[in-house]
C-alpha cells in the first residue's frame, strides 16, 4: 500500500510523520504547480470549487509516482467538502485509475466506520502506537504553525528582503528527505531557530492585516497566490485567523480552555450571524470583528470562487465594516486568477491602509495643537 493525500499547506509534514511512524509507505504529492491545476481543471466538474480541482491534480500526480491509496478527510455538510471523496472517486474511476480511497468522516457520525478505516490504514500497529503517532503528528502541526508565525513577523521587518523566505525554502528542501516524526520535528525546531535569527530593522511598526475566509484558501499558499509572502514584502505583518493547528485544537483535541475562548470569539458575531452556515463563514464574521477590536489596520477575506458559505459571509461583512470601521477587502480566487491583477489589488489596499494611518496620525497631531 502506497498512500497519498491532497496537499494543504503544511499538512504534508504531519501526515508524512504520522504514516512514517505507522510504517505505511507514503507518496507526498509533488508540490502544486500550474500542471497540477491544469490536470484538475480539465478533469473536474466546471462548477466545482477550486480545492476539489487541485485535489484531483494532486492525486493524479501522486498516482504517476506510484501511489495506490488516497486518504482524505470528510464532513457531513452543508459545505461541499463533505462530498469531495465520493465525487473524486467517481472521476478517478471513469479515468480508469484503480485506486483505493479511504475517507475519514468525523468520528461522531459513525465511530465504528472511523475505527475500521484507521485500522485499515494502520495495519498491524497497536492502538497505543497509533495514538502516540497521532499525538506526535499534532505536535508537528503545532510547531510548523509556530514556525510560520515567526516567518510572518520577520518578513515585515527583515533588513534584507527575501531573507526569511530563502530560509523557509531551505527548510522545504531539507524536510522532504526526513523520515519519521522525530526527524521532521527536529528539522522544524532547527529552522525555528534559524528563522528567529533573521535580522530585523529596528523601530518599524508595520501595518497589520488579518486574513479571514475559507480554510483551504487560507492555508494553501499556491491557491492564495502566496498572499502572506506578497503582503510581507509590502511590509505588512499578517495575522492568520485559521491555521491547521487551530483546526486540530478545535476538532480533534480536548483542550477545553481553548474551546471556550473559541466560543467567546464566535459569540461576537451574534448580531450579524448567529448560527453555523457551513464551512468557516461564522468564523469569518467573528474573526473580522475580533480583529477590528484588536486594532488591526485591515482585513482581507479570501475564498475560492463559488464557495457557498463564504458568499454568505461576504454579503454580511460590509455591515461589520460600517459598525467597526476597519477596511475589509474580499478576494475571490479560481483557476483563472491572474497574479498581476491580484497583486495590484493587494498593493492598492495596502496603500489605502497606509494613508488612513497617516491621516489618523495627522488628526492626532492637530488635536494636540488645538489642545
Amino acid at each position: 500500500m502506497k498512500v497519498t493525500f491532497p496537499h494543504m499547506g503544511q499538512v504534508y509534514l504531519a501526515i508524512k510523520g504520522l504514516l512514517d511512524d505507522l510504517g505505511v509507505e507514503v507518496v507526498i504529492p509533488p508540490s502544486i504547480t500550474e500542471r497540477t491545476l491544469e490536470i484538475g481543471t480539465k478533469l473536474s466538474p466546471e462548477m466545482a470549487c477550486l480545492p476539489l480541482k487541485i485535489n484531483i491534480g494532486n492525486y493524479i500526480e501522486s498516482i504517476e509516482k506510484g501511489a495506490d491509496t488516497i486518504i482524505i478527510a470528510g464532513s457531513c455538510g452543508p459545505c461541499r467538502f463533505g462530498y469531495y471523496g465520493v465525487v473524486q472517486k467517481e472521476i478517478l474511476k471513469d479515468l480508469g485509475y484503480d485506486v483505493d480511497m479511504i475517507i475519514f468522516d468525523p468520528p461522531d457520525a459513525d465511530y465504528r466506520v472511523f475505527i475500521e478505516r484507521i485500522r485499515k490504514l494502520a495495519g498491524k500497529n497497536s492502538w497505543v502506537n497509533i495514538a502516540q503517532a497521532f499525538k506526535r503528528a499534532s505536535t508537528i502541526v503545532k510547531e510548523a504553525d509556530e514556525m510560520l508565525d515567526i516567518a510572518l513577523k520577520k518578513r515585515a521587518r527583515e533588513v534584507n528582503k527575501g531573507d526569511t523566505d530563502s530560509r523557509l525554502y531551505r527548510f522545504e528542501r531539507e524536510v522532504v528527505g526526513k523520515h519519521g516524526s522525530h526527524e521532521i520535528l527536529e528539522t522544524i525546531r532547527k529552522y525555528k531557530g534559524i528563522l528567529s535569527q533573521v535580522e530585523e530593522k529596528p523601530g518599524v511598526s508595520p501595518l497589520k492585516i488579518g486574513l479571514v475566509g475559507e480554510i483551504y484558501t487560507l492555508i494553501e499558499p499556491y491557491v492564495n497566490l502566496n498572499i502572506e509572502k506578497k503582503l510581507g514584502y509590502l511590509g505588512v505583518e499578517v495575522y492568520r485567523s485559521i491555521t491547521l493547528h487551530e483546526w486540530v485544537k478545535v476538532h480533534l483535541s480536548l483542550d477545553v480552555k481553548y474551546r471556550m475562548s473559541y466560543k467567546r470569539i464566535l459569540k461576537k458575531a451574534a448580531p450579524y450571524l448567529n448560527l453555523c452556515v457551513g464551512g468557516h463563514a461564522w468564523q469569518t464574521i467573528a474573526n473580522s470583528i475580533y480583529y477590528s477590536e484588536c486594532g488591526l489596520d485591515g482585513i482581507i477575506q479570501i475564498m475560492p470562487f463559488g464557495c457557498m458559505p463564504e458568499i454568505v459571509a461576504e454579503s454580511i461583512l460590509p455591515r461589520v465594516y460600517q459598525d467597526y470601521g476597519t477596511p475589509i477587502m474580499t478576494l475571490v480566487v479560481d483557476e483563472m486568477t491572474g497574479e498581476a491583477g491580484y497583486f495590484t489589488r493587494l498593493e492598492a489596499f495596502v496603500d489605502l491602509l497606509e494613508q488612513r494611518r497617516r491621516s489618523k496620525a495627522d488628526e492626532y497631531k492637530e488635536s494636540l495643537l488645538r489642545g
Binding site: C49, P78, V86, P309, V312, R319
Partner: protein
C-alpha cells in the same frame, strides 16, 4: 397586516402551506410579481456578485415587495429532514437580505431546523405565529389547516402535476403526449420560474413531449435510489434531484433528460456531475445540461433545446442503422 412572500426559492415547494398559514391567522398575503427582467435586475444590483442566480432573484423579489406590504416573510430553512441540510446560502438568507437591501419593512423570519428532530418544525411555526401576534393555540390550529392544504398539494404533484400548472390553475397532464417523455432535473425555483427556465416546460410540450419532474417522483423511490450511494448525501434537495434522476434513468421512464442548473450552484455542480457519470456508465439516455444565469439569452437556449430534441428523434429512427461503408449514419 399585509405579509409579502417573495416568489422565489422555496416558494414553489411550500406556497400552499405558507399562504394558508398566514391567511388562517387573519393576515393578507401578497406575493411578489412574476419574475421579469426588472425584478431580476434589481436583485442583481442589490446582491453580492458572487452569489448564484436564485439568490440574486430572491433579492429582486424582496425589493419588488418593498412598499407594497407591512412585513416580508423570509424563510430560513436550515434543514428539512434530520441529519440533512439545505444549501448554506439558504441558511444565511435573512442575514444576506438584511445586509444588502436598504429600506426594508419588518422581516418575519421562519427559523426552520429539523436537523435534530422533525418535531422542532412544529415549534418553528408556533414561534412564527406568535411573532405576528397570534396565540400559540391559534398558531397550532392554523398550522394544522395549512399542513392539510400542503398535503393535498403534494399529493397532486405525486400524481403527475407540475407546480407550474398548479400555480397557473390548470390541472392538466397529457398535454403534448405521444412523442415521449422528457425528464427535467432542476431545482423548483429554476424549473417553475417561467422567466428563468425560459418556458422550458411549455416549449417541450409544444414539441409534443410530456415532462416528468422531480416533484412527480415518490419519496421512497428517491430514498431507494440514493441508498446505493457510497456516502449518505447530506443535502435534502440535492438528494431529491439525484434520487429522482436515478429513478428516471433506471426505470428508463424517459426518452431524454435535461439538467437545468444555474451558474454558480454549488450543489448542482456535484449532483449533475454524478448523474451524468452514472448515466454515461450504466444507462446512456440522451442528456443535456443547460446552465442559466442573468445573461442567458432566448436564442441560444432554444437552439440547444431543438438540437437536443432532434438528437432524440434521430436516435429513435436510425439508431440501429449502421452504415456498411463506415460513412456517417445520418447521410451527410
Amino acid at each position: 397586516m399585509r405579509i409579502g412572500i417573495p416568489r422565489a426559492l422555496l416558494y414553489y415547494n411550500y406556497y400552499p402551506l405558507w399562504h394558508s398559514f398566514f391567511e388562517e391567522l387573519g393576515h393578507q398575503v401578497v406575493t411578489s410579481s412574476v419574475t421579469s427582467k426588472a425584478v431580476l435586475d434589481s436583485g442583481v444590483m442589490s446582491c453580492v456578485d458572487d452569489a448564484c442566480l436564485p439568490i440574486k432573484l430572491f433579492h429582486g423579489h424582496v425589493v419588488n415587495l418593498i412598499g407594497k406590504v407591512d412585513a416580508i416573510f423570509i424563510p430560513r430553512l436550515v434543514s428539512i429532514c434530520p441529519e440533512e441540510y439545505i444549501c448554506p446560502k439558504f441558511i444565511g438568507l435573512p442575514e444576506m437580505i438584511k445586509s444588502s437591501i436598504k429600506g426594508l419593512p419588518d422581516l418575519i423570519v421562519l427559523n426552520y431546523n429539523a436537523h435534530r428532530n422533525l418535531k422542532d418544525v412544529h415549534r418553528a411555526y408556533v414561534e412564527l405565529g406568535t411573532r405576528i401576534g397570534a396565540k400559540p393555540s391559534q398558531a397550532v390550529k392554523a398550522l394544522q389547516k395549512a399542513t392539510a392544504s400542503q398535503q393535498a398539494y403534494d399529493l397532486l404533484l405525486k400524481e403527475g402535476q407540475t407546480p407550474l400548472d398548479m400555480l397557473n390553475g390548470r390541472k392538466r397532464i397529457g398535454e403534448g403526449e405521444g412523442k415521449g417523455i422528457i425528464g427535467l432535473i432542476g431545482h423548483p425555483y429554476l424549473l417553475y420560474d417561467e422567466f428563468i427556465s425560459m418556458g422550458l416546460i411549455s416549449k417541450l410540450r409544444a414539441r409534443g413531449y410530456a415532462v416528468l419532474v422531480p416533484e412527480n417522483i415518490a419519496q421512497p423511490q428517491i430514498e431507494m435510489a440514493c441508498a446505493e450511494l457510497p456516502k449518505k448525501l447530506f443535502w435534502s434537495y440535492g438528494k431529491k434531484l439525484l434520487g429522482s434522476g436515478l429513478t428516471m434513468l433506471k426505470g428508463r421512464k424517459v426518452d431524454g433528460i435535461i439538467f437545468l442548473s444555474s451558474f454558480g450552484c454549488g450543489i448542482d455542480a456535484f449532483i449533475v456531475e454524478l448523474l451524468q457519470r452514472y448515466n454515461h456508465r450504466l444507462y446512456q439516455i440522451p442528456s443535456a445540461l443547460i446552465t442559466v444565469d442573468e445573461h442567458s439569452g432566448q436564442a441560444g437556449f432554444n437552439t440547444r433545446l431543438e438540437a437536443f430534441i432532434d438528437m432524440i428523434e434521430w436516435r429513435d429512427g436510425r439508431e440501429g442503422y449502421i452504415s456498411a461503408h463506415g460513412a456517417s449514419v445520418f447521410g451527410h
